[in-house]
């Protein structure tokens, strides 16, 4: 193996082992920050030793043993031990004598409880959302500070600061390294799912031609979701989120045109959708449904995405079902944006008048006052109903509200197309 090969191999081992390593150490040290520090020490040791010795047969156990020895050394050197640390020291001393196979099983964590504890800790509500995202990518994804900074388009020191502060907050708040039980579980699980979906969306919002780190965020979020689905296979909410991410990710290849311009869902070349991810997404949705209970917000959104995924052409879309699913979503998470989406689905299923009725109710909604999609949708429906002058005014209003130059141009073009007056635009009326 060349030096480059061995470094790439160590990188690969690290990517596979680091989360479990940190999780196992965190259980013993009861401190996520310290756990990561000693895991890093073990990586440095591997980078020093493995180029000469070769990669050991069980690299995970080697890293774990090394990290634990470092931890013991450090605690011994520290003259002013707090009582708490003394206990940890004794605990580690006791474990130091473990045979290699026992070390292996300590790392094995067959049920994955340590990993689950680590996920819950990194997404703890005591941390800000930004801190949760950074810490999750760092501890679970094994991303470097530099990679996280590039992904979120912020300076590297900012991310480093966020992570340091997050670890300190966890230590100061004495957040226990545990899986929440009972009533707390649902809320804490929601926080975990929210973090994973935010990571996914951060990558999904980026368009082609941008930094490769942003699409990598989607892959990372999907990987975390898939891991979580295996760790807690009986939680339908997790399968719902995985289904949503798999189906959304299936559209990657179709979302942008040759010059990087975004292509809207209904205009996408469905042949470019990733069939394997669609298949996995539909299977995950089925799993969520099979586990019973009412579908959660992620599963409902996944079910909506699945309606699009199942339609071979845009014209075959089951809009009535999508409208019904949006209605369910509006009941779970009432929001004017969901209502607006429902209005679009209603208009596609039952004609523009059905959609406009709902849209008109939203025009007085304060939170949509500056939301360009409201006048854009309303303009579209008015145009289809032949109310051309009103449609033009709505497109112009939408153009004045959007911050996206490409979108503004498009909206102004649509407004201009209405300028000819109703007689010329009769062709835009629905035929039935």
């Amino acid at each position: 193996m060349t030096a480059t090969d061995i470094h790439q191999a160590i990188d690969a081992v690290w990517r596979i082992e680091q989360a479990r390593l940190i999780a196992g150490l965190a259980r013993m040290l009861r401190d996520v920050g310290l756990a990561e520090e000693f895991a890093q020490d073990a990586l440095v040791a591997a980078l020093e030793r493995w180029p000469q010795s070769g990669i050991p047969d069980n690299p995970g156990a080697w890293l774990m043993a090394t990290a634990k020895h470092r931890a013991i050394d450090r605690l011994r050197r520290n003259q002013r031990l707090e009582r708490n640390q003394e206990e940890i020291g004794r605990d580690l001393e006791a474990r130091q004598g473990m045979a290699a196979t026992e070390l292996e099983s300590a790392l094995d964590d067959p049920v994955g409880d340590d990993l689950l504890r680590l996920i819950f800790t990194a997404c703890h509500p005591v941390l800000s959302t930004e801190a949760r995202l950074a810490l999750t990518l760092r501890l679970l994804g094994g991303l470097t500070t530099e990679e996280i900074a590039r992904a979120f388009l912020v300076p590297e020191p900012t991310v480093a600061q966020r992570i340091v502060r997050a670890k300190r907050t966890l230590a100061e708040a004495r957040v226990p390294f545990e899986i929440p039980r009972g009533e707390a579980l649902a809320a804490r699980l929601s926080s975990v799912l929210e973090v994973i979906y935010l990571i996914f969306n951060e990558g999904y919002a980026a368009t082609a031609g941008e930094d490769w780190m942003r699409p990598a965020l989607c892959e990372e979020a999907l990987r975390l979701g898939r891991i979580l689905a295996e760790l807690a296979p009986l939680e339908p909410k997790i399968h719902g989120l995985v289904a949503l991410m798999e189906i959304q990710a299936s559209r990657f290849g179709a979302r942008t045109g040759p010059s990087g311009e975004p292509i809207l869902l209904l205009d996408q070349d469905r042949a470019r959708w990733d069939h394997l991810l669609i298949h996995r997404g539909l299977a995950a949705l089925e799993r969520a449904e099979r586990l019973g209970g009412a579908l959660g917000p992620y599963a409902l959104q996944a079910a909506i995405a699945a309606c699009h995924a199942r339609a071979l052409t845009a014209a075959e879309t089951d809009w009535a079902r999508i409208a019904a699913l949006y209605e369910g979503l509006a009941q779970l998470t009432p929001s004017p944006v969901v209502e607006l989406n429902r209005a679009v689905a209603l208009s596609m299923a039952f004609g523009p008048a059905a959609g406009l009725e709902l849209v008109d109710k939203l025009t007085s909604e304060p939170s949509l006052k500056l939301y360009h999609l409201l006048p854009s949708v309303r303009g579209d429906l008015l145009k289809k109903l032949g109310r051309i002058d009103e449609a033009r005014a709505e497109f112009e209003r939408a153009a004045s509200l959007t911050r996206n130059a490409r979108e503004r141009k498009l909206l102004l073009e649509r407004a201009a197309a209405c300028a000819g007056g109703p007689l010329q635009d009769r062709s835009a009326e629905p035929t039935g």
Binding site: R15, R223, L224, I227, E230, H279
Partner: protein, 142 residues
Amino acid sequence: MRFMMLMIPKGYETATPGTMPSAEGVAAMMKYNESLQKAGVLLALDGLHPPSMGARVTFPGGKPKVTDGPFAEAKEVLGGYWMIQVKSRAEAIEWASRCPASENEIIEIRQVQEFSDFPADVQKAAARLPEMQMKSGQRAGS
């Protein structure tokens, strides 16, 4: 990036029809498969019946000719595959290295071609490929 890990068991080229792996072998392999799944990298996997139950279609002079298995000339045949999603070729190699394979087994690692890997002229020639993949995938999924 996606990789196929292709399992090539030596001796499988002459295995009799209906040859099955031992229960112990399968149990060990399932543990490995689970480790791939728990790590969130496994996308798909399958095992294949031996070539003695299959056939080869060759094209001497451009005309199809069917030969029933086993194939005397075959030195290496597929026994199954995994498809994984990983960050690098090195990660695929590391996963393959962890397989509880025996001395007479080989795992070949091959990166899956994505449509975007093709140059423009090949993309044009293969324009309907994703559509075919989609339709076949939907059939499998329904």
